[in-house]
Amino acid sequence: MKARIVASADVLKIVDLLRARGYEVVAPFCGRGRDSYFDTVTDENRPRVRIHLPNPYYPPKRFVFPHIERLMAVRAQNGDLKMEPTYDERPRAIFGIRSCDVAGLWHLDRFYLGRDFRDIYYEKRRKNLFLVNVVCTDPARDIGEDCFCLCADTGPAARDHFDLQLMDLGGGEFMAVAGTAAGEGLFAEPIFHKGTAAHLERRHAILDAVRKRFKTITSWFSATVRYVSQGTIPDKTWEEIGNRCLECGGCTYVCPACTCFTVSDRQVGPGEVERVRIWDSCALSGFTRMAGGFNPRRAVHDRRNRRFFRKLAYYFIQRELDMACVGCGRCAAVCHGDIGMPSVVEMIRRAEPEPAKK
């Protein structure tokens, strides 16, 4: 991987370079209070793009997997049905995506593109996506109460799956690391300069220091993965977790690694139907209900245990090469009953495990 140095005063010029190359650039902005959000950069809002700010709560996964999207229109035509798929192929760049969310996108890639069936709607968006990752280095602004990327091994600096990575070295300089040829292609621009060994040392020193600034530094994932995979977690613990779930679905909607969706057709005009894809959630009881009325996960704790089984069981880790949790902490913030990932891992760790099933 190649690295360059860029002056702080020039770092937002990367947004301009990408826009000039025809990308729709989405970048983080500050909202009210401690809110932040991703939005499309325009000439008007360009000066308000921020590098250091709380990671937006509504995750950037929607740029490859929207909250709601039209898949196709179906029209009655000459006694036949005409189907017109809707693809989004616009070149898009996410500027300022955090390392946890980069890992989340990689997880979506494994799910949607990693096996025999490739999801064409996802693929068209993804192959035109350029990622500018920003390393979380400012403990006050970048790192939230609930962040635990250290435990999930996704941050604070992503190791791969980005096109370009930016890290604030202090002293008016950023380090830019290219992760792909497309990223490296930007280094021809005059704002990038060669770095020195001292820059590399600063990078290591900053990362060492930042790693100590996380509030949640242990999550005992390994024990939990083992208990979940072996099925030795007492029912009582799952019931306790289930009783605190109010079935809002929020944890799945904000999760950068959650992939589930439902598909529905709706009438949009005379003789015309649109097929939409909508985020779905394993928290909802309609999610697993069979057409005949049988619901294998009728009880709420059965649905909750499904979530953690899906994210942590060895079977899925083997298939997707990683846990389906990237340590962003959003599920902890969104949950009414405090059963986000860190709390659940803690509850499972403390529970008296049942003897392993043979």
């Binding site: 909202g31 209070g33 401690r34 709380p54 709601i68 009783n243 439902t262 009325g293 949950c335 405090d338």
Partner: protein
């Protein structure tokens, strides 16, 4: 709101909002599907030869104005009524009641939840002078004890349910009073699963425990309350053991709950204003308890009458009540009327109007000729009366809505409104927070904001209404309702809304009522005679039949039906039990040999019917719960007993054994 082009394509909460902190419910996560639904109405519709035809706004409003005028002149103003949904904005509700009162000359105004909510308004006004939550939702994090009475927070108000569960995790003691075992009840320290209808007996017994153990807050009672002597005398009639028998819960649990509440440095009581079986005495009972222990005017304490609709509080504040003007003054109060007449420059009728429940009585007393329904769909959501028959007899039915509904079948005119996110209006939440909903996209061409429709209609009726924006309407609301006087749109946008009283002197609003100790009038105890027996079932009819509304409310909702995810979730029970169902407890089911999904016969002293059993441990033993939407069940079972009672003695048997 997430927008792309001019479409709302996503919704997510603000982490910084004081009441939800980024935690919302499944309805919130899917609100964008409703606004973007392809089924939205796009043009005013006028019925012509039995069929709707799209017409221009001028034609539609002109027709409504001329027909309303004719009916008013021919049959009298009180043959016209205006009902709206507790989801309407403040501006819309305010203009609707103003139009009814000044241009038609009737106080026949009400909102769809008035049937269950208005007794709570009356009791609160009488006893503490303010018909709203006394404290803020966020204070629950600092309550030592929380009582949740008769509300399934998990299903109905998850945001508040979350505050309660998290408070419990952080050390608060949670007491749940309910005949149903719901999600929050599973988290309770003390769960009083009482017999339906025995709440006021329970509150009397809790007061007795507090008095007997000397846990009263005497300084508070002496300094700030009146009527305590008579109340205390009445409390002596209660007996813990008798109450335990009457309520069907162990005396030790009642005692433990009384001690926990009485000893808490600060304790909050949450109850639902939307409960079918909730009588006024049970509300009086819980307020008495809060007064007795000084749990008003301090942090983490208070009484929370929870509104289950986004703007139930607001439409009541705006005077969408048949007997109360904006700001809760009685319509019979001539001084209050005179003050309003000065602002409105029009007469206000002195005779209280008729509410929705009476209007929809089958074969109602006074003939209704014209009915205006603002986003209200009584045909599918009113569990009382016979709205379809009443609508059928009206000469003019006007419906404002986003979509066609079951009610529009009876409409002569349908007026399409703008949706959440398409207009800038205000709503008032259950913690008195007046909030502005910003316009994030332009409405589709066709629909018009409801406040603008009303303004144009008023002009067509000859009034000089000149509101150019919803902000101007809010300005006038501030002139009319003293506790909204500081709530201009400008002020509301500066933060996450303001909690009323928000006055020109206190523009930042008021998080907690009664904090400064200065009262316009003392709080009032109301003595409650001990109910002889809360609910005595004859031997032949050992079960109590409860007609429930709240839990199954949502699936009939016109908004839910236009979200794919919500439609799926809220239809599940109907898919599993297509002909409706009667819920009974597994213990009762085992004893009676009734299986889930099996046939079940209910017999009351006046009728009998067969339905499908839904066996669930959520209901208490000895009760049979019938959701309200199983509409035909009610007349069959109640027959001559009338529809007024929600608790009925019943016999439950297996059918076709």
């Amino acid at each position: 709101m997430e927008t792309a082009g001019n479409r709302i394509v996503g919704a997510y909460p603000s982490m910084s909002h004081p009441a939800n902190q980024g935690k919302i419910c499944v309805r919130g996560w899917h609100v964008h599907e409703v606004a973007s639904s392809p089924d939205r109405l796009t043009s005013p519709l006028l019925r012509h030869n039995g069929h709707f035809q799209p017409v221009s706004w001028d034609e539609a409003l002109g027709f409504v104005a001329s027909r309303l005028g004719q009916i008013r002149d021919q049959y009298g103003p009180d043959t016209v009524a205006f009902l709206d949904s507790p989801r309407c904005s403040n501006e819309e509700a305010y203009l609707l009641q103003k139009l009814a009162r000044t241009l038609i000359g009737t106080n026949n105004v009400d909102h769809g939840a008035g049937v269950y909510g208005n007794n709570s308004v009356n009791v609160l006004l009488d006893m503490i002078g303010v018909p709203a939550s006394t404290n803020s939702i966020g204070e629950l994090a600092r309550s030592a004890v929380i009582i949740v009475d008769g509300v399934d927070l998990g299903r109905q108000l998850p945001t508040i349910g979350g505050w309660v569960i998290r408070a419990r995790l952080n050390g608060a003691r949670l007491i749940v009073i309910d005949s149903r075992r719901h999600r929050v009840a599973e988290n309770a320290d003390i769960f009083l699963q009482i017999k339906p209808g025995s709440e006021s007996l329970l509150y009397g017994a809790l007061a007795k425990v507090i008095v007997d153990r000397g846990l009263m807050d005497l300084p508070f009672v002496k300094a700030r309350c009146e009527g305590c002597e008579a109340f205390l005398a009445g409390v002596q009639d209660y007996d813990l053991l008798q109450a335990a028998e009457g309520c069907g819960v162990p005396a030790s649990l009642i005692e433990a709950a009384g001690l926990a509440y009485g000893r808490a440095p600060s304790a909050a009581i949450l109850y639902s204003t939307g409960i079918e079986a909730r009588d006024e005495d049970s509300i009086r009972g819980l307020i008495n308890l809060a007064l007795l222990t000084g749990n008003l005017g301090k942090e983490g304490a208070g009484v929370f009458p929870l509104a289950e609709h986004n703007n139930l509080q607001g439409v009541c504040d705006m005077g969408m009540l048949p007997d109360r003007l904006p700001g809760y003054q009685a319509v019979t109060d001539s001084k209050a009327r005179a003050a309003l007449e000065a602002v409105w420059r029009a007469k206000v009728p002195a005779q209280p109007g008729v509410g929705a429940e009476t209007l929809f009585e089958a074969g109602g007393r006074k003939p209704l000729k014209a009915l205006w329904l603002g986003r209200y769909d009584p045909v599918s959501t009113a569990f009382f009366g016979a709205p379809d028959q009443v609508l059928d007899r009206c000469e003019l039915v006007v419906v404002q809505h986003l979509f066609m509904t079951d009610t529009t079948d009876y409409a002569d005119v349908v007026l399409p409104t703008t949706a959440f996110g398409e207009e800038r209006v205000t709503y008032t939440s259950t913690e008195r927070r007046i909030q502005i909903a910003e316009r994030v996209i332009a409405p589709p061409s066709g629909p018009m904001p409801a406040w603008e429709q009303l303004t144009r209609l008023a002009r067509a009726l000859g009034a000089q209404w000149n509101y150019q924006s919803s902000a101007e309407v809010m300005q006038e609301i501030g002139e009319v309702i003293p506790f909204y006087s500081g709530a201009s749109h400008d002020n509301l946008t500066r933060d996450y809304g303001r909690q009323w009283p928000c006055t020109t002197d206190r523009p930042l609003g008021t998080a907690m009522l009664f904090a400064d100790g200065e009262l316009e009038r003392p709080f009032k105890f109301v003595p409650l005679a001990r109910p002889a027996r809360p609910f005595g079932n004859p031997e032949d009819f050992p079960f109590t039949l409860v007609f429930g509304r709240s839990l199954y409310y949502w699936h009939q909702n016109a908004l839910i039906r236009h979200s794919e995810t919500l439609k799926r979730e809220y239809r599940l029970l109907l898919l599993d039990y297509p002909e409706g169902f009667v819920e009974i407890n597994p213990d009762d089911a085992r004893r009676l040999d009734i299986r889930d999904g099996g046939r079940i016969r209910l017999t009351t002293p006046s009728g009998s019917l067969v339905s499908t059993a839904r066996v669930t441990s959520e209901v208490r033993t000895g009760t049979a719960f019938v959701p309200y939407f199983v509409r035909q069940l009610k007349p069959e079972l109640l027959g001559a007993m009338g529809q007024s009672r929600s608790l009925v003695p019943v016999r439950v048997e297996k059918e076709g054994a």
